[in-house]
């Protein structure tokens, strides 16, 4: 019975968004479409939750294991709350004529398509299928980034497209090399592309081929994660697209690319003769952290600033997984979850801020706590959370990471702390004017629209104060599998 329930959940996870994309493309009324979008995302979330208890048998193409259930659940949760936020956001965009009803039909279809592509990338057991799914996710987000059709939006979409395609191309070359290494032992054909078979036998693969493949995969999928020096598309794509898409990019797509990287890291970890992938990931992660920290100082655009903050946090997560070991991997996994929730909450807030103020320029946005107190204070709280201050979950994960780094590589921990402090002070400087500057404006915003943001922040605060034992056990189990 359990396997059947698992099969149904898996079918729902992929089928609901795929069907939803077709359905929403056919519905012209945007109110109905937005409501349906929320419903479909809720159903997808239910399927993802069901997979936690009931897993289907793995096949050559699809696999549900301990690791991807975490990613699936976090992803579907962020996808669901973003769809709720998006319903309120697009109504305003329609009023201000930035988007037309026809654009929204396309937008909703693409939103479900993106959910489908990301779920497929997460559950695929075939490294070729995973690549195809990530390419599909790239394509759908490119089209959504360019949806406003302004100069800046088209440029951002073009840049994202070209850099994303190059990254995808590199990842494919790496995938081909992994297949070549695998087919010597597993024989030609589909078996040599099945991830679970490859991991089980990777100890007997040719180490030099694996080494080379990982370099390509790290650069290729690293582009999608937004790691320095291949991050250039990320700030533009976040700044110029619709804000729900910025939330989904930061909260979801970056994680999916990181997940792909982790799958290949596990293949490498199974072979004792290869270069350790850890130091490469640590280096890129640290570079992203420090670089993005400095870049936050100089931003003038509020969405761009938080996009750099995403680069910073993806750097921290990559560093944690690169460091490896039960504690650091646990910290990485927790940080990934907390970052997804917090950063999407921030983008929910920033979306409303830019709509109310009519600008994304930081210098023109002042005194939010007096012009729209609830929104302003939620922004303050979420910035405190993302900067890694207690009592929020981001603090817990960063603290765990710093302590485990201190125990193993003190000099690395010093660099890590410096990077964290740079980003923290940059955010604090910017936040002061945004939240507490002088203003005589008053904005009206109904409180229920801030529900998704509040919910995310409550979850993050709850995780910081008390992490329930089942979740700790679950994450610890997953971290032990991540090596």
């Amino acid at each position: 019975v359990s396997a059947t329930v698992g099969q149904m959940a898996l079918a729902g996870l992929l089928g609901i968004p795929a069907f939803g994309a077709l359905l929403l493309a056919a519905i012209p009324r945007y109110r109905i479409a937005a409501a349906l979008n929320v419903t479909l995302c809720a159903l997808t979330l239910a399927s993802a939750a069901a997979l936690y208890w009931q897993r289907p048998e793995p096949s050559l193409y699809l696999l549900v294991d301990d690791v991807n259930t975490v990613f699936l659940f976090v992803g579907s949760l962020v996808g669901f709350s973003t769809s709720v936020f998006s319903a309120g956001y697009i109504a305003h965009e329609l009023q201000t004529r930035r988007l037309k009803p026809r654009d929204l039909r396309f937008y909703h279809a693409m939103y479900q398509m993106l959910m489908f592509a990301m779920n497929l990338a997460l559950v695929s057991n075939n490294i070729g299928l995973m690549w195809v799914a990530i390419e599909l996710a790239t394509l759908t987000t490119v089209m959504m980034v360019g949806i406003y059709r302004t100069n800046a939006a088209l440029e951002a979409a073009w840049k994202y497209f070209i850099l994303g395609s190059v990254g995808i191309a590199l990842a494919l070359f790496g995938t081909i090399l992994v297949y070549l290494a695998a087919q010597e032992r597993l024989g030609q054909g589909m078996l040599a592309m099945a991830w679970d078979r490859i991991v089980a036998r990777s100890d007997s693969f040719d180490p030099s081929l694996l080494n080379l493949s990982f370099v390509f995969l790290l650069l290729g999928y690293g582009t999608k994660v937004g790691l320095v020096p291949v991050h250039a598309w990320l700030p533009d794509a976040h700044a110029e697209g619709p804000t729900p898409i910025s939330a989904v990019l930061s909260g979801l797509l970056l994680n999916v690319a990181l997940f792909a990287l982790l799958r290949f890291k596990l293949i490498m970890a199974g072979n004792p003769h290869v270069l350790s992938p850890g130091p490469m990931m640590v280096t890129m992660g640290l570079a992203s952290l420090v670089f993005a920290g400095f870049m936050i100082y100089r931003r003038r655009d509020i969405k761009r600033m938080f996009a750099y903050s995403s680069i910073e946090h993806m750097g921290i997560i990559t560093l944690a997984f690169g460091l490896g070991g039960p504690l650091a991997s646990f910290a990485g996994l927790l940080h990934m979850t907390m970052h997804s929730l917090t950063k999407s909450a921030i983008f929910f807030g920033v979306g409303y801020i830019s709509q109310l103020e009519g600008t994304q320029r930081i210098a023109d946005i002042r005194g939010l706590t007096s012009s729209q107190p609830l929104l302003g204070w939620l922004l303050v709280v979420s910035c405190v959370a993302i900067a890694g201050l207690p009592p929020f979950g981001v603090f817990t994960s960063e603290f765990l990471l710093v302590t485990s780094t201190f125990a193993r590589a003190p000099w690395l921990a010093i660099l890590l702390v410096i990077g964290l402090l740079i980003a923290f002070s940059a955010l604090a400087t910017r936040l002061h004017g945004l939240a507490f500057g002088d203003t005589d404006k008053q904005h009206a915003l109904s409180a229920w629209r801030l529900a998704p943001m509040t919910l995310h922040l409550l979850l993050v605060a709850a995780a910081g104060v008390y992490l329930p034992a089942p979740i700790v056990a679950w994450f610890r189990h997953v971290a032990s599998q991540l090596g």
Binding site: L154, E155, A169, I176, L209, R300
Partner: protein, 220 residues
């Protein structure tokens, strides 16, 4: 496999590297498109030969896609775009041709140095094929980096992608090659439509990417 068969495979893969070099020094738009069409045709021959050698009929589909889509449809579509946008003039490069060619030679050397020792265990057939494929990929990168014009960047990307298809077809019995080449074709179709849309919306006076940089949010 007889030496002659391996030699033919090498000849075809080597010709692709040569075509990539030809792409690097074109300074006229139409000439660039013609050379790219030739690049795709050589790819089609190479993949077709692999299909025949490996007794893998599905690779013939990949070869056919390369021939029809990338050898004919895309160059024709791009040519129409170039005429409509009135950009059939010389191509601006970031780095001049001479240093670019030298750098390209260095990249081919690099890919041989990297690939040959790594694929020692494979047969000569796969080994050199991969080295050639990596050269084509790297030369495609070089072209994308050294060109400012959107159309020639796209051509650079497509030549890069041809290198990937070459690598995938050379990897013995790799599944999903056809699906991947279809996926890439969709990607390229979107890029081409994208260029066209830029113009249809009449937001840009030029498809020169430097002009795009002006509109960035940072330079406010």
């Amino acid at each position: 496999m007889s030496p002659l068969q391996t030699d033919i495979a090498h000849l075809l893969a080597g010709s692709m590297v040569l075509m990539s070099f030809l792409l690097l020094y074109q300074d006229r738009m139409f000439a660039l498109l013609n050379v790219f069409a030739l690049h795709a045709c050589v790819l089609a021959c190479s993949v077709g030969w692999q299909a025949y050698q490996q007794r893998a009929p599905h690779l013939f589909i990949t070869a056919l896609i390369a021939l029809v889509f990338k050898g004919v449809i895309i160059p024709v579509a791009l040519r129409r775009i170039v005429v409509q946008l009135g950009i059939h003039r010389t191509i601006e490069t970031v780095v001049s041709i001479g240093p670019t060619m030298l750098f390209g030679i260095a990249l081919v050397g690099l890919s041989i140095v990297v690939m040959l020792p790594v694929t020692q265990a494979e047969g000569a057939f796969v080994r050199e094929d991969l080295a050639f494929a990596l050269s084509v990929v790297l030369l495609g990168f070089l072209m994308m980096v050294t060109r400012r014009n959107a159309v020639s960047q796209v051509i650079g990307f497509m030549s890069l992608e041809n290198g990937l298809v070459l690598a995938a077809s050379g990897a013995r019995g790799m599944p999903l090659v056809v699906e991947i080449s279809v996926g890439f074709s969709v990607l390229i179709a979107f890029i081409v439509v994208g260029i066209f849309l830029f113009r249809i919306r009449e937001r840009f006076d030029t498809v020169d990417l430097q002009a795009l940089d002006m509109s960035r949010g940072e330079s406010m």
